[in-house]
Symmetry: C2
Subunit: 441 residues, 2 copies
């Protein structure tokens, strides 16, 4: 009998990060970095790991959604799944009843992504390759076959996608050598959380420059006077040549985003990230037009490829920030990378949280080797939280992500960590929740 | 001690509608109309009812989401809640951890809507008024105070909203009299489900005209030859003067929507509904431009007011189809009605399913009495399914919704029906699920 998926385990795992306000921003004052963690097991004893990143309360909803989709994976032939993850992605996203709860957005879409990513992890382990290498070794035709073009053809056809991938075939080997030797640029958000005091901000900024980072990101949008003071401190700490990006985490409406950012222009911000609702394509276009040459970046909450398509069609973004866990997995992120390449817009992946760095580095590295062929104006976000819980944690050196060498998508959390931080019954939670509740309202 | 919310009960209730393919369309071949049904109970023994409409599998996810938000409602003062449901809506939508799972979309957003609507039902029962009358009796200032303008001000400010409401104050009493006497126009989707044969289609079309409907909607998008044949049958059955709308339920990409609809133009379709992804604002604008004078309608899957704002800003829709359960309840639908009024676009609410007619009629009637002041080119969708399960079912006469007179939002399902159709333990489900599964992929 051929190898089958024998079980899908889903674990609610939460890290009490809000105790130190790591990760605090204008919309997320007290996040507990968490995950709906997915383990596929096969009848031959193999495993595929995936996760949906969350920030505390509600992780149980995300777990319920993964479990609701799991029957579409259990019993499937592993050969079939790893040969064509797109077929699974289409079934998960297209289920005619569960689809009503999205469609292609929010909890059910991220649940599909967790399962699809776990299948890619399984596929890469079987192939004995890190995921970025598995993807980079696919032919252009194989990559295109992994993308659902149903809603994208007005911006990107299959033939155009093929042409982009074929054009990148020439330098693949040299870029792979370069990636393995030099890594992929990172930028850091570690210094800039709203909950940190001025001394810590200045110190972490200096340390980031010394560590080799050329782009540092600060959270803004809590209080204008604070933002002016903090950006002044940061700019003084890093000097004029380091790029300073700012991130409002959706706190503003369109007119407010424009007026607030004009007050920060003196500090030469490189990009403004999430100036307003992630759904507001036209709003981002208006903000971008008003604030140029400050760039506009978004993506961590952009819920599917149709939204990215429009951000690009409307000239609404200068920087596409893919997220490994927001959309329906590797397949939809391939679509977004292809769209960004078609429009010539650089991709700087969102990461941080728990596991996001580990997962998304594979997508950026694939893009460099086999699609955009460039690292210019590109960098993967890096935050130095929680990597110790992973069996194949990211490796950072000189402000760069080193290319993973282990087989898989680097998604596996150590079993001791799963035991310790399992919610609500793990020892880390024996004193109950950190915060009773908090709201941005 | 003042009256408090003492409990929130959430029930997974499913009706096995797929057995007869009622409700079948291009994307939903086998729906089981269902709900995550919400009952608020107060310390004084009062109740507020709400629901989130679903179509079968996944209703358990929706129930989990309502339960995750319920702690923000339990223990609250009923006086405070009914005096200002907007404050609750902001807390539910703004919870800084659960928000990550949206934001403002999908399962968590609809869960907020279920709870907010239940509070409005409670408020209307307490006031002894049907909800439409409670809303129509609010002052313009009170209505505006119920709307969150954070992401809307580039299209609609508080002052503009006030001006719209004040301009409608003059004729309120006369329009209320007219509404009570004549009802509100309905249109019917009963004849047009994809699963019905030609004879049934023709017969139901004739019956609809005889019943007084002036607009009939047919599902399309399964097969072009079938659509041409079915539209021909329908047009012949109803004659040239009855409006025939068609609904593709998101089956097409943009180029396909345009080419397919050009083949149906000979039958004079009044609107094309959901020609493509509900997220594709720019796509709808392109379809509208290409197909004029055929109108473009969408909304049942448009997940929040920010998306409706853009559909209006981009001239992408001729008809705004609000849904009582897709967004965060009455409050967000007030925002959408105000946006539609600002842009002068008529609202034709989506309904059908289970409970959608009962709930949404209140919003359309408020709009007529106190905001748009018009029923021209407006009609509420009507489907004659499952109304018998409600304690205050819609009343249709001569192709019109009669104004509800009972206090509340008409959301209450009979307790016998809840017992019979509770999933998975109700007697209606003793033989197990109807279909093992089906996908649109």
């Amino acid at each position: 009998m051929s190898e089958r998926i024998s079980s899908v385990e889903t674990i609610d795992v939460r890290f009490p990060t809000s105790r130190h306000r790591d990760g605090s921003d204008a919309m997320n004052p007290f996040p507990d970095y968490s995950a709906a963690y997915v383990i596929l097991r096969t009848s031959a004893g193999a495993e595929g790991h995936g996760l949906v990143f969350t920030v505390g309360r509600g992780t149980d909803i995300q777990v319920a959604a993964v479990q609701a989709l799991a029957p579409m994976v259990i019993g499937q032939s592993v050969d079939d799944l790893v040969a064509d993850p797109a077929a699974l992605a289409r079934r998960l996203v297209g289920d005619s009843q569960i689809r009503w709860l999205g469609p292609e957005k929010g909890v059910v879409h991220m649940a599909a992504g967790g399962l699809v990513n776990a299948v890619w992890d399984l596929a890469a382990r079987r192939a004995g390759k890190p995921l970025w290498k598995l993807l980079a070794d696919l032919t252009p035709e194989q990559v295109v076959a992994q993308v659902d073009f149903r809603y994208l053809r007005d911006a990107l056809t299959e033939d155009e996608a093929l042409a982009l991938l074929r054009a990148a075939e020439g330098g693949r080997a040299e870029r792979e050598r370069q990636l393995r030797a030099e890594g992929y640029p990172a930028y850091t958000t570690t210094p800039g959380w709203l909950g940190y005091d001025d001394e810590k901000l200045a110190r972490l900024c200096r340390e980031a420059v010394e560590a080799g980072y050329e782009l540092i990101k600060l959270k803004v949008g809590g209080n204008l006077a604070d933002d002016v003071r903090r950006l002044g401190i940061a700019r003084q700490a890093v000097g004029p040549d380091i790029r300073l990006a700012v991130d409002a985490n959706q706190i503003w409406g369109v007119p407010e985003a424009i007026s607030w950012m004009r007050e920060l222009a003196a500090f030469d911000p490189y990009w403004i990230e999430e100036p307003t609702s992630p759904d507001d394509v036209l709003g981002h276009a208006a903000v971008r037009k008003a604030l140029a040459p400050v760039k506009v970046a978004t993506g961590e909450h952009v819920h599917n490829a149709v939204m990215f398509k429009q951000l690009l069609q409307a000239d609404a973004v200068d920087v596409v920030q893919i997220d490994a866990c927001r959309v329906a997995g590797v397949n939809e992120n391939l679509a977004i990378l292809l769209l960004a390449a078609k429009f010539g817009v650089p991709v700087c992946p969102h990461a941080g949280g728990v596991g996001l760095c580990e997962l998304v580095q594979h997508l950026a590295m694939f893009d460099f080797v086999a699609l955009s062929g460039s690292i210019e104006d590109r960098a993967i976000e890096y935050v130095d939280h929680l990597h110790e819980h992973f069996t194949d944690p990211v490796r950072i050196s000189g402000g760069r992500y080193l290319a993973p060498t282990a087989a898989g998508m680097s998604a596996e959390i150590r079993s001791a960590s799963l035991t310790e931080y399992r919610y609500p019954d793990g020892p880390a939670w024996s004193d109950g929740p950190v915060m009773a509740g908090s709201s941005t309202a």
